[in-house]
Amino acid sequence: MITAGVDVGTRFIKVALTDGASLCGFACAEMGPRFDAIIRSLLKETRCQAGVGRWGIRKIIATGFGGHLVKQAAFTLSEAACASRAAFFLAPNVRTVVDMGGLFITVSTLNPNGFLETARINERCAAGSGKFLEMVAEAVGVPFEQITFRASSSTNPYTFVSNCAVFAESEIISQINAGMKSEDVLAGTINAVVSKAASLLDGAGAQDDIALIGGLSTLPIVRQRLSELTGRNMLTLSVDAQAVAAFGASLLAQGKNATFRRRRKELKNGIPSLPWKI
């Protein structure tokens, strides 16, 4: 059975298709006012990738900030639930999932059966979010792909005076005018973003490897700094970091316990080695 997950984030719309065993289609496009048409075309694109016909998708679950905007969806689920399901599916011994997206940083913890235990989100303030990094990168004129390269050459990262993302933007403009190097500003911003994630991680119990997902995690410098700051290892999942939440939604659309049934069956046949007993 082919099912789909649609993740409408604050910056991008992601669509993933699954047959219950693997990711068989993924497409991603920027969010815009004509989101309806974007979702339709993304669904079509993924259908072509998976090689299924127009009526081939049996069920769609939406997730993300704008999940309620998806008309085709049967229902919507939280990002934390979807991301943790996908992370558990791909790496069964993961207990902590950190999703660094466009505007929200979500830290979710899983119990040994793969169910979501707690989720912590930066819901009050946009300081240290992806949008903040984007605003700074735009102000210093560095494209997203070059952030890692530029920031890693910094020797003296800038420390922000103001905590607010809006004020920080005007702060860096005056700093750049005063002759501050853009490398130092970028490195300082990365530090601010990573320390925000680390402060959310403080409350999360288990001290094992972290599955780092979301658009910001595609920057190697973010992975490296977060690993340095928390002293924990960053796992890379076998699917695109942006696709994880959408993939989780599509897995959840497979049915109540389909993924768990499959895991249990694998366990019975002794295929993977899992750290717990069922």
Binding site: L103, R124, A126, C164, V166, F167, S170
Partner: protein, 263 residues
């Protein structure tokens, strides 16, 4: 005796010139590249409209963010004291001043002599300041000057629950995508800013009469919603509410010239 006050804020620079009888000229310009530059430009403009020269000024007092960088000012005072004294000078019945500026927002309590008794200030977060209003106006594609006029047309503001300006932007976009009427969204934006200011004012004992100063006080939508949230009416000032800071600075300069000190 001719005294002047110069208020260099984050978005605009204001200058006010007065003699012993009353005000001579007041000017407002957007900020230039440096505070020094802004101060000189705005003061030149004010002097020109009062038909005076720099040499005619007896004392000039500076205030605002850039107050330490103004070469022609002999003294400086904090903007809190200046807004307090300025509002008291134009209307001696005022006991509370709510100043909503470009990058901060303050509630100032003054005593019967115009001195600051207590104040509370938010300069940590952009929510509840002119900056937030500017960002949200840009999001819906309305000019900042038109936002207030649009907002007062609506009686049903949309509810914006977020506290952070960037999250508010996202929420406003959601309402825009849902094809809500622009006037209701504009009113919701004014309402969101007013809610943050009202939350700040709740932490201090506000006394009658209350007036609003600063750039945002020119937005009728914010003023209406703030009056609603604080359940109070505001006194309208006889002068431009944006220039009160510079006016207060000029009053301090006058006090010093008369030998009374700043208190």
């Amino acid at each position: 005796m001719i005294v002047a006050g110069c208020d260099v804020g984050s978005l605009t620079a204001k200058a006010y010139i007065m003699n012993e009888k009353g005000g001579l000229a007041g000017e407002i310009i957007p900020v230039q590249s440096t505070p020094t530059d802004s101060a000189r430009r705005v003061m030149e403009k004010a002097l020109k409209s009062a038909r005076l020269n720099f040499s005619d000024l007896d004392v000039c007092c500076s205030t605002g963010y850039g107050r330490y960088e103004i070469p022609f000012a002999q003294m400086n005072m904090s903007e809190i004291s200046c807004h307090g004294l300025g509002a008291f000078h134009v209307d001696s019945g005022i006991r509370t001043v709510i100043d909503i500026g470009g990058q901060d927002c303050k509630v100032i309590l003054i005593d019967a002599n115009g001195n600051v008794r207590d104040f509370i200030m938010n300069d940590k977060c952009a929510a509840g300041t002119g900056r937030s209003l500017e960002i949200l106006a840009r999001t819906i594609g309305v000019k900042l000057e038109e936002l207030g006029r649009l907002a007062v047309k609506s009686k049903k503001p949309i509810n914006i629950s977020n506290k952070c300006s960037i999250f508010m932007e996202l929420e406003v976009l959601g309402h825009l995508y849902a094809r809500k009427k622009l006037k209701h969204i504009a009113c919701g934006i004014a309402d969101a800013v007013a809610k943050r200011v009202a939350a700040l004012a709740k932490a201090i004992d506000v006394e009658d009469h209350v007036c609003i100063t600063g750039g945002v006080s020119k937005n009728p939508g914010v003023v209406r919603q703030l009056a609603y949230h604080m359940n109070r009416t505001f006194k309208t000032l006889p002068v431009d509410p944006q220039i009160i800071g510079a006016l207060g600075a000029a009053c301090f300069a006058k006090k010093v010239l008369e030998g009374g000190g700043t208190s």
